[in-house]
Amino acid sequence: MEPQFSETPIVEFRGISKAFSGVKALSDISFKIRRGEVHCLLGENGAGKSTLIKILTGVLRADSGEVLINGQKAVVTDIRQARQFGIGTVFQENSLIPHMSVAENIFLTREPRLKNGFIDYKTMYAQSVQWGERLGVNLDPRSKVRDLSVAEQQIVEIVKMFSQNPQIVILDEPTSALSDKEIVKLFDIVKRMQAQGVTFIYISHRMEEIREIGDSATVLRDGQYIASIDNLRETDMNQIITYIVGRPLDQVYPPRNVEIGEVMFEVQNLSVPKLVHQVSFQLHRGEVLGFSGLVGAGRTETAKAIFGALKKSEGQIFMEGQELHIKSPFDAIRSGIGFLTENRKEEGLFLEKSVSWNTVSASLKKIKTHGFLNFQKERTLVSEYVKTLKIKVPGIDRAVKYLSGGNQQKVVFAKWLSAGSKVYIFDEPTRGIDVGAKSEIYAIINQLAENGNGVIVISSELPEVLGVCDNIAIFHEGKLVRTLGKEEASQEKIMYYAMGGQKEYG
């Protein structure tokens, strides 16, 4: 059943402008969000989405223009006031307190009290369960938040917010850390809340899910309002992408015709206790091999075990016929393996340090002269990578924390290119990156393969796996269950094996 839309828009932006030290971040943004919708906010990184959200939630003040909530002019000056207007936000990094229980988190600062003033735990636990049930989730109110998975924590966060009776909920990249199964669960929750009259503002870079969950959308580009789409599900995907990037994107996935050569890298019977079981595969020169599977299927763990970041209990690794004895990332890098981690901020970058510093951080050997670091060499080398990878920075001394996600990711790429790897393992290389930068990253991956390297791409996005890989290795519960060639693979087929399908598909 289609949700009922009332006449007055729940949120209306009128002529919102905002500039940071003279640079326009938003100019004259006007659009409406109808009650009960899931309204997607689309645009590349830097398009102005988060600035707009910050204005709505009172973190920032608009230079001009006004926000109407329920048809009335609303001046929101901080998050707390936003809550009074019924606006709730689920942050990308969740705001729960890890060592407290689920119920304690849900009722933080609003704990039900006994007459003597002490906290009424019984009621608190019971109410937590009830709030969970209203969203179709089973909560154990007593378990500590730190013992929950990322997905479970997010659900707790949503329940917490839901218990405060929000009218408008902002979800900012809620699925970036979730597996497909968990996304289904999240969407179920969203739909239940929607059925109870909650309006959503949904920010995501994943085209597929936007069309699945969204009713309508607004596209921003370079701080400008581009278009609103009333019926998202029936709008052509290419049309939406054109709105977002401002030019028809012929192909997100650049074409590739790479000669696949001989076997250059081989893994035999790799195991990590409880996580990875007897994984074997071969990687050819010029090949892009995809690792597909649900989150927790052992893909990242396999990569980490190869890279020496996770201790393997058995297994052999061969590079160009030679067995490698890798005990640490240091050994792996020396043997020519590069590993781009899935969380660039936590595991890849030195955020406070400069573009240059980060780029050479795994290849200091290269910039040495007579045992000492040669800064001139460093500048030359880094400038070269900045140019070839089209990293957009005002200067190579800029700290990477100031770069957009896409440019940060390119810096990590530069780091591994500089390290002179022969086998590249990319774990979720395009997570949290806008469409334009994604396409550029695919081009880099193609180029690496063309140059005779071997590339492994771990990805939870099936279209991406199908778009960039020659072969797809499918993981299920720590085992590599099946390898499919590009021609025989399809999204359904990959999902079938990733979910544990035993028989031949179809």
Binding site: F307, E347, L349, E352, S361, A362, P394
Partner: protein
Amino acid sequence: MAEQLKREPGLFKRLSKVPGVSALLPLLVLVIILSLTTKTFLTPDNLMNVLRQAAIYAIMATGMTFVLLTGGVDLSQGSVLALCSVTCCMALNATGNMWIAILVAVATGAVIGFINGTAVAYIKLPPFIMTLGSLYMVRGFTLYITKSTQVSFRGQDAFRFIGQGSLLGIPFPVYVFILVGILAMVFLTYTATGRNIFAVGSNRVSAQLSGVKVNKITVLVYTLSASCVGVAAVVYLARLTAAQPTAGESYEMEAIAAAVVGGTSQAGGEGGVLGSLIGAVIIAVIRNGLVLLGVGSYFTKIVVGLIIVLAVALDVTRRRFAVNK
């Protein structure tokens, strides 16, 4: 838009970006104020006296900087100073050879530092706890081997010169701290290992996954810290001609203060030796200045404490406002 890399900024701007240089400004202000308010501050004798007093703290602060840069802390420094000066003095009396004595002092420090670092790196003890434990253990051990009495030496003019002599009108300890400082700066800035020390403090996980041998770096910085203390102990002993088993108490706090005032972040990854040296001088200038102004020693502590808080507050504020433009 054409991709254009910004040209390197001018010398002044580049200099201002060198960690520690920003600490020069408060130093300059202090010097100007004290020059105007006292007659004696800006005399060569007094200035040399200030530097001589700063030397031991500056050398220790250099060692402390290595540890702070990795996000750790070395609380055992003060105790190690006592132990090193005692072993140094014993070696001097036993062999009569000052070079052996110096070696013994530095080696004593290195061994304690190695133990600290190994425990932090491999047993994963929090640095605060491990070095706090060392603080007590090393102090106890020093009292034990000296039976709580001071150890002294006679003669040894050449050795004494290290602490008491002057060269070209400048006290010899000042040469020592400048030499240690320069070596440390070159090491941190121009070697891969030096840069990896920053990497560990900036993001330990990223460092590990970039091929940095994080555990080895950790052992190294604690070893360097205590080895610097060994050098400081030599200067200390040469100056006083006697090693007190109770010497150096709370000197580690002075070293931390100097480093922090000099802009080294106690969270790791940011800062440098130059700032710590300047920080040590700033603290020595304040002490000296307050004495010259005839202010009591209680007040000195209050002012030093205030300076620490202000310096960091300034730094934190500056960082907060240096947002993305």
